[in-house]
Amino acid sequence: MPDQLIFGMEVVLNGLMAGVLYALVALGFVLIYKASGIFNYAQGVMALFAAMTLVGMMEGRVPFSHLINAIFGTEIHHFGWHLPGLAAVLLTMLIMVALAWIVNQLIFRHLVNQEPIILFMATIGLAYFLEGFGDMMWGSDIKKLDVGLPQGINLMIDETTFNIFGYGFFIDNLDLVATGVAALLVVALVIFAQYSKQGRAMRAVADDHQAALSVGISLNFIWVMVWSLAGFVALVAGIMWGTKSGVQFSLSLIALKALPVLMLGGFTSIPGAIVGGLIIGVGEKLFEFTVGPLVGGATENWFAYVLALLFLVFRPQGLFGEKIIERV
């Protein structure tokens, strides 16, 4: 086989893996959008916040230590203990649930019946708030996140491909784990939505708020639940991205990539988020591999958006989305 083709195959595989990570963030968007019609721009920042909180818990950092030091002139940084990964994850999840409750109580209860674009802007405000809040709480340095996930080159794949093609593919173990986790998450979410009582209530709310209210479903509960679920997905995405590239501000920008993913896959479809993620992941890696060198590289910054833009012109509802019908 020619070298270029083999390299291309490796690029495609890595693109698939990156796509899974995009899809993880996109999942959180879809959940909230389906249940409440809110397009949650803050999903990426939620992932960042979750990852920051996780690191802070594990390292036993004192929250707001920076602020406290500045006001009182003290010199505190750490509590001096280290939490094991699992306990920290559970605690962080609790915080995300609390966050979901607060967001619902303070913001979106007051914005019921507003236009979608107003809700969208409110989530941009929320994103700014959370960004500043997270930085103030845990400091803005780049943090290392290690919850014990395997990292580095997968030797088995390296060897097998070397035996077949005479060239070992570089696949990161972490990407494999992420793929497994994403698959699990999707299956779990689908089962939850299809078979559990709360899941059914969630779908009912997504279908028609008023009808759901009239059969006795508590909108408040469902919304808090959905935001908590989105917080959970954000936490998972935050762990994966954080382990991969460190917990830092750019995490929330990577999460922006979930937007074109959604436009491709459709805003209302969970499988769409996965397929869209894979297409974007493979597409941008392949584009960078083939066209990138000709135009100066770093095309990954915009390729996804332009692809989504072109796609939108021909099919505004995305691949799997419900057709947008406008009635007067």
Partner: protein, 358 residues
């Protein structure tokens, strides 16, 4: 009371159609103009110009531009940073290619170039709406910043990848470069800001503006009563792009002097201008000024009180700024979706009846 129309009789159609129908408003407007042109330039120093006046004037133009698109025509755009970059790079290319032409025309031409680019990226708005469009404009943001970063022709193949404004003057007074007196840059920007505000105000109360508002309120109904959505949306993009381009050109040439595109015109700039529009008031020219003033002054105030007064580290003040801005956006959206401009309007209405509200 001073803000009432009682006793202010209109005897001709011209008087009836004035921009400021109430006498007090009109005189206040003249007073502000006189103060801005004839008083302020004698009293400002370098710090005030660079920290407050220039950013305020320049962001006002950008906010007016975005307000036309978002507030009047209802097309949400997250690509303002990218379009400002187009204005900046267009003015840079023009300034270096035609050094003998006055910088005044360069800035206006840069607005024209941006207007064309903006229309190009506005084309999808004919098919997609709402936040779909918002995400589509993100494509413009990221693509344009990448383009100016990577293609050497745009920054004249300079080694650092930055663009630096060459020294230019108007009527023999330096405007750009290091040696300019503070008042010259201020006056130069002020001329553009006032012109932009007057043009925008008159556009929005004329035929074009009414078409925009019809499209914003309900596009299907607007189409049925004979508004051409293609024309209305694309003119909004064109006019908006023109103003945003001018502000980008001024931001680069007069305010910063040297620009690295990702830093100066990144996605955060888009959000900043959008926030100005939301806080100031969607669909209001006065609101654009109020929003710009608010978001320019807030960091300055925070920095002076927290860093200067209390001795906090600067990064902490920056975080607090994020928190406050985010919270303010949410509070305004919940309590007063029409922003500072609406607060002002309500206050005026109250004063009109004061002290006998019934």
């Amino acid at each position: 009371m001073f803000c009432r129309e009682a006793g202010d009789f209109k005897t001709s159609y011209e008087q009836d159609n004035q921009t400021f129908p109430i006498k007090f408003d009109r005189y206040r407007y003249y007073a502000v103009l006189v103060a801005a042109f004839a008083v302020v330039p004698f009293f400002i120093n370098d710090y005030w110009v660079n920290a407050v006046f220039l950013p305020f004037l320049i962001y006002s133009i950008a906010a007016i531009g975005l307000n036309i698109l978002v507030g009047y025509c209802g097309q949400v755009s997250l690509g303002t940073g990218g379009f400002m970059a187009v204005g900046a790079y267009a003015s840079y290319k023009l300034m270096t290619a035609f050094p003998e032409v006055s910088i005044f025309f360069h800035v206006i031409l840069a607005g024209g170039v941006t207007s064309i680019v903006c229309v190009l990226f506005g084309l999808p708005s004919l098919r997609i709406k709402g936040f779909y469009l918002a995400v589509a404009t993100l494509a413009a943001q990221f693509f344009l910043v990448w383009l100016f970063n990577r293609v050497g022709w745009f920054y004249n193949y300079s080694a650092s990848g930055q663009i630096t404004a060459p020294e230019r003057s108007v009527f023999g007074v330096a405007i750009t470069g290091a040696a300019n007196p503070p008042w010259s840059a201020y006056l130069f920007c002020l001329v553009f800001t006032v012109a932009a505000a007057i043009i925008a105000r008159n556009l929005t109360r004329g035929t074009v503006g009414r078409k925009w508002m019809a499209i914003r309120d309900m596009d299907i109904a607007a189409e049925i009563i004979g508004v051409n959505p293609l024309k209305a949306k694309l003119t909004a993009f064109a006019v908006s792009g023109f103003f945003v381009g001018i502000s980008g050109a001024l931001f680069f040439a007069v305010y910063l002097g040297a620009v690295e595109v990702g830093e100066a015109f990144g996605i955060n700039k888009s959000f900043l201008v959008l926030f100005m529009v939301i806080i100031g008031g969607l669909g209001s020219i006065f609101g654009s000024f109020a929003g710009a003033a608010f978001l320019v002054l807030l960091p300055v105030l925070l920095k002076n009180t927290l860093v200067g007064g209390l001795g906090w580290p600067t990064d902490l003040a920056a975080h607090l700024e994020f928190i406050i801005v985010g919270a303010l956006i949410i509070i305004f959206l919940i309590a007063e979706p029409h922003g500072l401009a609406q607060l002002w309007r309500v206050a005026k209405e109250k004063l009109r009846l004061w002290p006998f509200p019934h």
